[in-house]
């Protein structure tokens, strides 16, 4: 039976228990693929720790941490085929790196440099949306466009990420409703990390699960253990496959609720100790996706101390290099703010750009820049 066909009472889909023991069907991945999954998760975690530290040192602006969510991000992103598309929120740095977004770009973006938004042409990643749930209708429109362009057929799927808070927004409803009505090849991936800044999941909805909301839109919803990367991989793979090749009478979209926890703050501007107990954090840390996968892979004979040490070493180097690259990038040319507004500058924007150039010429950049 498909992982996606479950009753709400069946509980979450799980492959690994909290100790890394096998409790479900292990997805058919090669040894290399397992190690890659592990490495991506370690990379995302180390990147996250370094990013928070950079913010604390004043070397980066406000940053939204992802620690705790690596299993959901990496497990789902690895399930995507090359042609599939990812439509992220602002926290999916771990998923984006799997899809080929250089870490340097993510750093630049949070360092306040627009060039961080420049996604390589060969990476099917949409630019992150900050207003909550506003990317959900985009994902539906993108998937819909693909279907329309291919006369109702499609061989690509579009995964859209958002948090539990997003499910309270109108755009979540409208995006999923359109997806159901027009039967678009979408996977809606809810990173239910329990808190929308300080407001708990229970204040977002009286529904028993977020997954069950899919019923209202006429397609399947499934609740999975979001801190179990293998369960995430498995459910996402099946949802993507259904989006591209639905069975008789099946609707293409799926809502996945990946139950997880953000270990850190909503952003570095937030202090979670105000609204949640240490005890709760510790309880969830016991479910940490990284040691869980590591124990499984050690049990399988895929990882040992040497390989783990080698992964850690290479991850440290990769992040250090990305930080060097981002910090040694010269500040953007100030006149670039007048570009990329329209394909062609309007006369007024041109006039303002000229005036701006004159001011810089006359007073020098020191007159403008606060250090």
């Amino acid at each position: 039976m498909s992982t996606l066909e479950r009753d709400p009472g069946d509980g979450m889909v799980q492959v690994l228990d909290e100790e890394g023991g096998v409790v479900g069907d292990v997805p058919d991945l090669s040894e290399e693929e397992f190690v890659a999954m592990y490495r991506h998760m370690k990379l995302a975690r180390h990147f996250d720790e370094r990013a928070v530290s950079l913010q604390r040192q004043g070397r980066m602006g406000t940053y939204p941490p992802l620690s705790g969510q690596e299993g959901a991000q990496v497990g789902s992103a690895l399930a995507l085929a090359e042609d599939d598309w990812m439509i992220p929120s602002y926290r999916e740095h771990g998923a984006a790196l799997v899809r080929g977004l250089p870490l340097k770009q993510t750093l630049l973006y949070w360092m306040g440099d627009e060039r961080g938004s420049l996604i390589p042409e060969d990476a099917n990643v949409f630019t992150p949306a900050v207003p909550i749930a506003s990317q959900v209708p985009h994902a539906t429109g993108m998937a819909w466009a693909d279907k329309l362009k291919n006369d109702g057929d499609t061989d690509r799927a579009f995964i859209c990420y958002f948090g539990d808070g997003a499910t309270s927004e109108g755009d979540f409803h409208e995006g999923l409703n359109f997806a159901g009505v027009f039967d678009t090849p979408n996977v809606f991936f809810c990173n239910n990390n329990q808190w929308a800044i300080s407001v708990p999941r229970e204040r977002q909805t009286a529904s028993e699960t977020l997954a069950q909301k899919a019923v209202a839109y006429g397609f399947e919803g499934v609740q999975i253990d979001g801190m179990d990367p293998l369960a995430v991989y498995k459910a996402t793979t099946e949802a993507l496959e259904k989006a591209k090749n639905p069975g008789e009478g099946e609707r293409r979209p799926t809502l996945i609720e990946a139950v997880q926890y953000r270990f850190g703050a909503h952003t570095t501007a937030d202090d979670p100790s105000v609204y949640r107990e240490d005890e709760e954090v510790e309880k969830w840390k016991a479910k940490d996706p990284i040691p869980r996968l590591e124990r499984f892979l050690r049990n399988q004979g895929i990882l040992d101390d040497d390989r783990v040490a080698a992964v850690e070493e290479s991850v440290r180097e990769e992040v250090a290099d990305a930080i060097d690259a981002a910090e040694s990038t010269v500040r953007p040319d100030p006149s670039s703010m007048f570009e990329h507004v329209f394909a062609e500058q309007t006369p007024e924007i041109r006039r303002q750009a000229e005036e701006f150039a004159r001011l810089r010429e006359e007073y020098g950049d020191d007159a403008f820049v606060e250090e």
Partner: protein, 333 residues
Amino acid sequence: MSTQEQEATQNLTLVQSVRDALATEMELDDDVLVMGEDVGKNGGVFRATEGLYDEFGEDRVIDTPLAESGIIGTAVGMAAMGLKPIPEIQFSGFAYPGFDQIVSHMARLRTRSRSRYTLPMVLRMPYGGGIRAPEHHSESKEAFYTHEAGLKVVMPSTPYDTKGLLISAIRDPDPVVFMEPKLIYRAFRGDVPEGDYEVPIGEAKTRREGSDVSVFTYGAMSRPTLEAAEELAEEGIDAEVVDLRTVSPMDREAIVESFKKTGRACVVHEAPKTGGLAGEITATLQEEALLYQEAPIKRVTGYDVPYPLYALEDYYLPNAARVADGIKEAVEF
């Protein structure tokens, strides 16, 4: 080809010219599609998409669920993937549930993605009052959209311009908000060429040459303004009427040039006065042509009150009499 052969024309109302532009461009470009509430079988509540459903099918003339944010948000996704969606909002007063999608995404995606993603979409919405409609059906809130960088805002006043501007908007690589003056959807007919042609976005049109005063207006208010100008001509006041046609980007050069000629100005729009575009036009003249100014610049606008129910809308909306009064004030100073 002789000029006559080139210019086979039809005599269309403004709303028919909207339909004609959509059909013309959909015929030429398979990526163009229209979407919205009731735009399909019903042909739109104002019949702006009449017959398109039968002509182009349900995949290109799409009846959507009743959801403005969903309509605009999915159109953003479609446009990012290379289609040219033309979402219709039934009345501009109902656009607000989709406002976040307009200002946070339609206007910003090019900037945010450093031009990797662009949005060749046109958001159509009938605006303005005077048709005895219920509450929330008569607003004129173009200032919201002109204030947002990254959007172009077009407000035509003739059938000819409507078709040419809408075709330009569809071909524009950037998002355009196309606000249609529903008061004059069917008020008169005009010659509209068959086939495709463009009226450039961002260029004003002088509707009436004059030497005494410049009157700047756009959209539905072009009609009472021209009427007032003709009435005043009989009294010996020669008003120049400049129809902006596009309110963003605004044709500041045309505005300033006309003012330099006459030294006096009156600005007419039906939107409320405070924060309205008349203020922008006035400020532009202060910046660019102060020394040509012979009199205070007069603003004839809607009032700073919620748009009244229709028993009082004739008192709210500028008409030829109010416009004439404003012009005279500028001239007789």
